[in-house]
Symmetry: C2
Subunit: 393 residues, 2 copies
């Protein structure tokens, strides 16, 4: 990969995570520290090597009573003095923190940085957690009128079906595929396959979406260490994974402000920027982790990323194209639907899974060797998006 | 100012804010947008000139039900597509957002960026707001045992008195000074002077701190636009204010982890880094906005910044040294104690006030012309600190 600007080449040298799911008897800090320590071991680094820490967390204030997680997690890792910042962009908080760490190294602010994504969601009642999730929407104009994320994505699904002829079976095929992959992932929240008719006949949530079209409420953490490519090669040799390019964009928080609810703008803009930054295109991607916050979201995602043309996400999924049959492998980790969706950890975890895949260390993602892939994380219903392209060294 | 590295020279070209205080009938977004639009007018820029937005907000999820404020405020300003990120470091959220905007321009990520700090604190009951404020402490180890920020700073005050012989009168002199200045500031929450004995005899909050040793609960917003020095001079000529240097550090969240509760580490480290970055020293500072979250905090602040030696903050305040009688002018805006403390807005507002002072536009800060000053913002009890040094062009 050649850089068009005079920034530095950056690589990922360490990744770590916890299992996603209900984690009894542990708090938000121990989860984050566990993932961070695993990443340090993976990189062969001491915590004191970290010059900046970026913590992706959505809603610690409400879910566990914790703000200031940058400093808190730095403290628990035994380091003080370094910049340690919590970044929030709802479900894209993890992606934002990974890109902040990448930019800090790329632009020469620091040589080594860590991104940590974490969320502890099961400490509160479902009512409190649901209310917290709604804070990622437009309170004044939509959520206060009773909208919820399942209902917003239910409308998106209905619109996609009406406009492109996408079928209920095609949407359910996303859940079937991701549950199949998640069943192989030892860190996934759900490790059981489901059949198409089970998805379609599961409990209604927000028509046409059913329970098995939705992700679980999970606890979890994930961490990524980035450094200069030069230092990365010294540290971990060919286990270093290059950052080929990044893209980030914001978009409407209110779904009613979207120009087209079936084709969200921010994810498309983020993808185009990342491809341009990397000098690569959608056709180059061999393995892809996308933000399937609902089954319909993965269909929107592969269209926004340019992996399939507009409106063809449903057909492509049902045909097996996104299961490596002609197309890239999409969400071979199990995705949010099966691996789980601890909000602030999700974007970081996507990068962790992608790194493992590119290194050939994700044996559960048993589909041969890939050399290039991307992770796409979204906040709200298209309110913020990050796309990070990685390449095996 | 000469840069030691090869980064770009950065200047502030626009500032804006709302009055601090109880703002009835308005939400968090309108407050932020009002400050942002004023900053755009001040800079002579359209919103579409902004290439990145950093929003400092502490606890929107709890206080107004709003997360994702980066995207939300960008939307309300009529721009989408740009990176728009909410950053949180408790009471230093505003300082973090200003420094993120500065770094983004300095290191060449973008040419023009805006930092917006905002908090809407009066929408909830005092109980909910107090609980939210406690989320900036160490929940697991201190706050769950009943600690509150007034009680933590009460302990700090008591320790400072015991160790250095600091008197109740000296501590109260901070409130007297800042209320005097705030009475002149048309945007301040409190605009009435107080006498020493009124402070000392006000309602006990956490011994020895009394009501008039504490800041009010305020709503408010502030915004700062940064760009390259070259572009700044084109835009606003000699109204551009140079960023001479920045420093940032994290420290213990739990007060019980501080090596010395009268001499917090992170503020000292942030100040040392900022002075080194600017090639300036404490003695060069003519006007200083510091984080007086309680009266005792200003005494700690001027010691941490090296404006007075350790232990002499009380004497210096009582003598008038920090009212420009021999020393720099400290908190001539009124500080948090008088101007108010809408958490996420505070650090941004400090920079706004400093810019106005250096430009000679803060007639209420009627103390002649200064050319160099700093803003020091702190989160928690020393958990995070930012120091930003500005110089008149």
């Amino acid at each position: 990969m050649s850089r068009k600007d005079n920034t530095r080449a950056v690589a990922i040298v360490g990744v770590g995570d916890t299992r996603f799911g209900k984690q009894e008897g542990t708090g938000i800090s121990p989860l984050a520290v566990s993932a961070a320590r695993d990443a340090l071991v993976d990189a062969g680094l001491e915590a004191k090597a970290l010059e900046a820490i970026y913590v992706g967390n959505f809603c610690g204030e409400v879910l566990t009573g914790d703000a200031l997680l940058g400093s808190l997690i730095a403290n628990r890792l035994g380091i003080t003095g370094v910049p340690a910042i919590r970044m929030e962009g709802a479900c894209a908080s993890g992606g934002l923190s990974v890109q902040a760490a990448i930019q800090a190294v790329r632009y020469g602010m620091v040589d080594t940085a860590m991104a940590i994504g974490v969320e502890k969601m099961t400490s509160q009642t479902t009512g409190v957690t649901t209310q917290a999730l709604a804070s990622a929407g437009d309170q004044a104009r939509e959520m206060s009128a009773g909208a919820t994320f399942p209902s917003l994505f239910g409308m998106i699904a209905r619109a996609h079906m009406a406009r492109y002829g996408t079928t209920r079976e095609q949407i359910a095929a996303v859940s079937v595929k991701n549950r199949k992959y998640g069943a192989l992932n030892p860190r996934a929240h759900f490790q059981a396959e489901v059949e198409l008719n089970q998805v379609i006949e599961s409990r209604p949530i927000a028509d046409p979406l059913r329970l098995l079209d939705c992700p679980p409420i999970s606890d979890g953490a994930a961490a990524v260490i980035v450094t200069t490519l030069e230092r990365a090669l010294d540290l971990v040799s060919d286990r270093a994974v290059n950052v080929a390019g990044t893209g980030q964009a914001s978009g409407p928080v209110a779904l009613s402000d979207a120009k087209d609810i079936t084709q969200l703008e921010a994810p498309r803009a983020a993808a185009q920027r990342a491809y341009a930054d990397a000098g690569l295109s959608a056709g180059d991607m061999q393995v892809v982790e996308v933000h399937d916050c609902f089954s319909i979201s993965e269909i929107l995602a592969i269209e926004a990323l340019g992996i399939v043309p507009e409106g063809e996400g449903g057909v492509a999924t049902h045909s097996g194209f996104t299961a490596g049959q002609g197309g890239p492998l999409v969400n071979s980790s199990g995705g949010l639907l099966s691996k789980g969706h601890p909000i602030g950890a999700t974007g970081t975890s996507q990068v962790v899974e992608l790194v493992r895949h590119l290194r050939g260390e994700a044996q559960y993602q048993a589909f041969g060797a890939s050399t290039v892939g991307l992770a796409y994380n979204m906040g709200g219903a298209g309110a913020v998006a990050t796309v990070t392209i990685l390449e095996r060294n």
